[in-house]
Amino acid sequence: MIELDSVWFSYPTGTAALRGVSLFFRCGEIVALMGENGAGKTTLLKHLNGLLKPTKGRVTVDGIDTRTTTVATLSKKVGLVFQNPDNMFLRTSVLEEVSYALEQFGAEREEARRRAGEVLKAFELWHYRDSSPFTLSGGEKKKLAISIVMAWMPKYIAIDEPTSGLDGWGKRVLAELLLNLKNSERGIILSSHDVEFVSDVATRVVLLRKGEVISDGAPEDVLTEPELLSEASLLTPQIPSLLYELRSRGLRMLNHKLLKLEEAVETLSKLLSWAGHTGEDDS
C-alpha cells in the first residue's frame, strides 16, 4: 500500500502545490486523480517514487518512508510514466529505450530485449524499434513512454495523463492492459482529464482542487455528479449527462448513475421498447 499522510508540498518558487493530502493506494485498484490544470496531480504522482519529497507530512510505500530511500530503489516498485514523454527518452532507439530500464533492474541483455519486444508489439510499436524515439508522432511517443514502464512490471504503476495523444484503438489496448494488471494484484494510479476513459477503467476516482482532495469515491458516485465535477473543472461524461438530462425532462425512473455504454444501451432499449408499446397502444 502507498500511503500519503497529510502531505504538503511547495516548489522552490513558493507555489504550494499540495496542501495536506491524505490518501492511500492499494493493490488491485485503478485510481484516477482528476482536477483542474494546476490542481497538483503531477506533483502528487512525483511523490510516489520519491522524485519529490513532502515539505511536510509523510509518504510511505509498503511501510517505507520515501525520504529514507532513493528514487532508483523505489522505482523498481513504483513505475512512473511522465506527463510529457519527451522528458523520458534517453536512448537512440525505441527498442533500447524499453530494454534500458530492464537492464538497470538486473535483466540480462537478451532477456531485456525479448521482453521489450513483447511490450512494443502489444502497442504496435515494433515497426519503429530502430527509430529514434524523437521521430515518433505524439501518440506513438505516449505509447512508448507507457511501454517503458510496463516492461519491468512494477508493483505500482503511476501514469500521468495516459490517454493524451492516444487514439481510440490505443485507449482500448491500454484499458485492457490496465485491467489485466489490476487483476494480477498491482496498484495503478492515473492522472487524467479524460472522463470517458476513466469511466471505463477506474475503480476509484479522487478529485483534487488547488492541492486538496475534494472527493474520493467510486466512479459511479463521483463521475455522475455534475456540480461536484464542475468544481474540479471537469465535464460530466456523456452517458450520465444524457441520463441526467432525460431525468430532468420527466423520465424520473431512469437511473443516472450509469457510466458504461452497455449499461446505457440496456436501460435505453428497455425505455424504447416500453415507449414503442405505449405508442402502439395510443394508435
Binding site: 532513493t70 532508483a72 513505475g79 511522465f82
Partner: protein, 262 residues
Amino acid sequence: MSLSLLQALKYRSLDTPIHRLDPRVKLLASFSFLVTALVFGDYWGGMLTVATTIILTQLTILELAKSARYLLTTIKGATPLVALVFILSLLGILDSPLQTLEILYRASASSVRFLAFLTSFNLFFLTTSPDEFGQLLLKLKIPYVYTFTFVAAVRLAPVIADEAQEIIDAQRSRGVEFERGNPVKRVRALVGIFIPLLINSLRRAYEMAEALEVKCFGASERRTSYREIRASKRDVLASIITISSLALALLARGLGLFSGLP
C-alpha cells in the same frame, strides 16, 4: 567550482528597488567598479583600500537586492583563482629586495584588486533579466539579430538546466542510482547524463528555431518592445550618484590623494 560560479551569476527574478532600476544605470555602476579597480593600480596608492571598498559597496547594494549571498558564492567559488593570483604575485616579487611584510601586502593587494575586478559585473548580471539586457543592447543600437542571438542563448540556458534535471529524474525513475553508492559509481552515473543532455539540448535548440519561425521572428523590419525600458526619476538619481562617485574616484586618483595609503 565553475558551475557554482555560473549559478551565482544567474539572474533571479526578484522584486526589489535595485531590480527595478534601469539596466543602463546598473551597467554604468558595474562599469564604474571596473574602471575604479583598474585605475587604482599602484601599491601604496590606495589599491587595497579602494578594491575593498568596491567589494563592500557592491555587497551593500546587492544586499538591498536580496542577492548578497550570490556575490559571496562567487567570491567563494573564485578562491582558487584568487589564490593563484596571490601565489603568482608572490613568486613575481619574491627575489626582489623587498621586506617580507611588503611582499605580503603587495600580493594581498593584487589579489583583492583581482577579486574586485572579477566581480565588478555581478551587480549587473544578478539583477538584469536577459530580456532587459536585450533591450539595453537595442538601445545601444546593436542590430536586433545579434541582440536576439545573445538573448536566445541566454534563454536556452534555463531550458538546458531544466532538461538536465528532467534527464536525471528520468534516469533515477529507471533505476539509475545517483543518491547512493561509491563516488566512482556516482561519477559514472553523472557522465551518463551527458550524451542524452547533448542530444536533447540540440533538439530543444532546433525546436526553438521552429517556434521562432511560427512566432514571426524577423517578419517585420520594425520591431517594437512591449516593455520598453524608460528612465524614471529614481534612475536619474541613481546615475547621478554613480557618475559623481566615479568622477570623485578619478579625481582622487588624478590628484594622487590616496598616495601613501595601502
